[in-house]
Structures are given as structure tokens and as C-alpha cells.
């Protein structure tokens, strides 16, 4: 699934990464615990999370996550956006809950 399609499904804003809209997302991963992401995430992921601190981007960098989507309408702080820019990892932002975001993406064919 292309990132642009994810954006459409989640009715999301792109906070960083307009150049990445054609990037391919292979699987979805939902977690509010970075320890969990570090232990279980595979490469090619879209990470859906309610955490917004800069360590989310660090973690994404370590496990080669393609893009991060902040759920529950939580706006990340400036430091997080800055790091996303630095690491060139696209950032989305949606008002939907974690549950609804995962449900919609899975329904449209994004595997886990």
C-alpha cells in the first residue's frame, strides 16, 4: 500500500515527508510502547502510535520503519518534527483512535 493511500484512508495530515507519498508500506504495526516496537517490529512498517516524543523517531530509525502516524489527534512537539526531518522519516497525524486507524487500514488490505 502506498503512503498516499494510507493518508487518504486515515484522513491524515502530512506533518513531514511530502516527498515520500509514493513509498511502499508493507505492514502495519500499532503500539504505544517503544520497547515493544523494538522487540517485535519488522522492516517496511507503518508505525501507529499515541506517543509523540522524539524517541519515537529514534526507534523508527533503529528498526527501519517507513513512516510514523500519530493517532488520537495528538500533535507532536517541535523536537519530534525536527528529528523526523533530520532522519527523513515521514510523519502523519490523524484524529482517529488507534483502534479505528488499525481497523480501517486492515480492512483496506494492509497486512500485519
Amino acid at each position: 500500500m502506498k503512503l498516499s493511500e494510507v493518508i487518504k484512508i486515515l484522513n491524515a495530515d502530512v506533518l513531514y515527508g511530502e516527498d515520500h507519498l509514493n513509498d511502499e508500506i508493507e505492514i502495519g504495526c500499532a503500539s504505544d510502547l517503544l520497547s515493544d516496537v523494538l522487540a517485535f517490529a519488522k522492516t517496511g512498517n507503518l508505525l501507529l502510535t499515541g506517543l509523540v516524543n522524539p524517541q519515537v523517531i529514534r526507534t523508527a530509525e533503529m528498526v527501519d520503519i517507513v513512516a510514523v502516524c500519530f493517532v488520537r489527534g495528538k500533535m507532536p512537539p517541535e523536537a519530534t518534527l525536527k528529528m523526523a526531518k533530520e532522519k527523513d522519516i515521514p510523519i502523519l497525524y490523524t484524529q482517529y483512535t488507534m483502534y479505528k486507524s488499525c481497523g480501517l487500514l486492515y480492512e483496506k488490505g494492509l497486512p500485519a
Binding site: 500499532a30 515493544d36 484524529q95 482517529y96 483502534y99
Partner: protein, 120 residues
Amino acid sequence: MNVFELVEKLNFEIKAGKENLNNEITGGYASDLLSDVLANSGEGNLWITLQIHQNIVAIAELRNLAGIVIINNRQPDEDTIEKADRLGIPLLVSGLPAFELIGRLYSMGISGKVKDVQGD
């Protein structure tokens, strides 16, 4: 749909709260942040989380949740099981990761019926 029907369909392992498996589910809520669940989950929601600490039971009780599903085969602490039994909160374990479990629940019709945080 009630909790018991899901246990059968999705192969959940029942850890506690057997007597309340007929709790009716109003929707799903997924979060690993306890403060968030406390603030935003809805009554009768099925809560999907990877947290295993006994505080999850207290929150489920406070918010009148239908039950808790722990993902990735994580095993709840002893005190968590004990507390869930005492308070009659269905405590279940699934081998699926959060994204897939939610996806399946959603496709079975358990949606975020309850309003999203900032309106739907």
C-alpha cells in the same frame, strides 16, 4: 456481540473473569497508555493492550469495560489475574499483534462505535 463469542472465534486464552464472558461489547479501544484509556475509552469497550500490570484491571473496572485482551501472547502478572477474578473483569490473551487483532475485530463488526477523541 458478547465477549464469549469472540473467545471462540479468535481463540483467546481465558485468564480470569469467566463468569462475565457474556458482557456485551459496545466497541473497541486500543491503547498501551493507561492515562489515555482512563480518559478516552468508552463504557462496554473491549480494551486491546500489551500492558500486563495489575493497574489495567483497576482501569477496566473504573471505565466499565467489557474486557481486556492482552496481545502478543504476553502473560499477565499473578496479581493481575487475581484482581481480575476478584473484580469479575474478563482477562484474555491473544497471540496476535495489536494491528492484526484490531483489524480482525473491526472486520467482525466491532468498530469504534464510541466517538473518537475529538469527535468523529
